[in-house]
Amino acid sequence: MSQTELASRPAPPSIWHMYRAMVGVGVVCGLLIVSVFQVTLPIIERNKAEALQEAIFHVLPEARTSSTFRLDDEGGFKALDGDGAGERLVYAGYDDSQELVGLALEAQGMGYQDVIRLIYGYSFAEEAIIGIQVLDSKETPGLGDKIETDPAFLQNFESLDVSLREDRTELANPIVPVKHGTKTNGWEVDGITGATISSVAIANILNGSAQAWMPRIQNQLSDFKGGE
């Protein structure tokens, strides 16, 4: 290589330049992310709370206000200020005169394609599930997603019996899925022809959740009364 070629080649960047670039860009990027995060955080929290409220009021049709309860280690339910996050939460709905309408609980389990998340409403008075809403599902469109829209299927959940046995320790009858058109008992779920697995999944999710929660809840009614 000639002298001129060597001289005209740019000098290799120093380590300092490389550090400066990476760290400089890193810091600016970090600042940008944090500021956007801080600005949007309250909006996002509000959106989530609104969505949850809407779901609770959908499964407890007479509720006008709600409050969140967490199951503590002794088996009692404590009210939380504001919304809590994490496990073991139930939501109590109250009507205009601060009377307890019922509880809303979230449950999830495996569907046909992927996990299904739903929320269901429970009424103390009827000792039954009075409504469900699917929160998250990736079931097959046109087939499995009928669990969200089929009116006959949704009728199952207007009064799904989850009463306890005499000794108040277990469900008297587990929630069982039955073939379409063969429902005879209040604790059975009439399936959807053509969407068997998805409808069976819903029944199983509800059963699992009810088996675990109903005994705890029904014996702790006093924890929830008393308005907000």
Partner: protein
């Protein structure tokens, strides 16, 4: 948080919700590397390995970010970890088997931009899998990716010799095959539950 059995997770990741054919992740290498059977299987193995390592690291990072309450750093840290893992794998393969390194060529560093690996890290974080569940998920996803890649390569090798309309040659044909494979894989739905 999730009580799916490990077997369900594996079947789900590899067959029912195959990363390539159901989630459309890893299309770039899928369409790029899948013309030869041999390269396809090697690519699949490399991707599976990177997935495994990234999955473990992602689990650790997520735990750390939750501890210091900085969830917004998730994406940047994941991509940094994946890039470093690929770099390490590259150096490792170069040392252990230079022939393999040469045959993989440009596609090895391209694993970094493989949506499937970042997708894996993000999905497992969203689902809140435990450590063991994460590993099984990564193995399942890698196996599924390799399977899709190998199937595609086998089909395309045969198709090279077939007579197809000029206008469909290339990517359009590959996509149609992918579509048919995707429909076939739908038959796995409901398996393992």
């Amino acid at each position: 948080m999730h009580d799916e059995s490990l077997w369900t997770i594996f079947i789900n990741a590899s067959l029912v919700n195959n990363f390539v054919l159901a989630y459309f992740l890893g299309i770039c290498p899928f369409l790029g590397v899948s013309s030869k059977l041999e390269t396809a299987s090697r690519m699949g193995a490399a991707v599976t390995f990177v997935m495994l390592v990234s999955s473990i690291c992602a689990f650790g990072i997520q735990a750390l970010l939750v501890a210091i309450n900085a969830p917004y750093l998730k994406l940047i840290s994941f991509i940094a970890v994946i890039a470093s893992t690929v770099q390490l794998v590259e150096m490792f393969i170069k040392k252990v088997s230079p022939a393999l390194f040469r045959s993989l060529g440009i596609f090895l560093p391209l694993i970094t931009t493989n949506c499937a690996i970042l997708g894996l890290a993000l999905f497992q974080t969203n689902k809140g899998y435990s450590f063991v569940q994460c590993i099984v998920y990564a193995l399942g996803a890698g196996a599924g990716f390799t399977l899709a890649l190998v199937l595609m390569a086998g089909l395309r090798e045969k198709l090279e010799l077939a007579e197809v309309p000029e206008v469909t040659r290339g990517t359009a044909m590959a996509l149609m095959i992918a579509g048919l494979l995707s429909v076939a894989f739908m038959g796995f739905g409901g398996l393992g539950s």
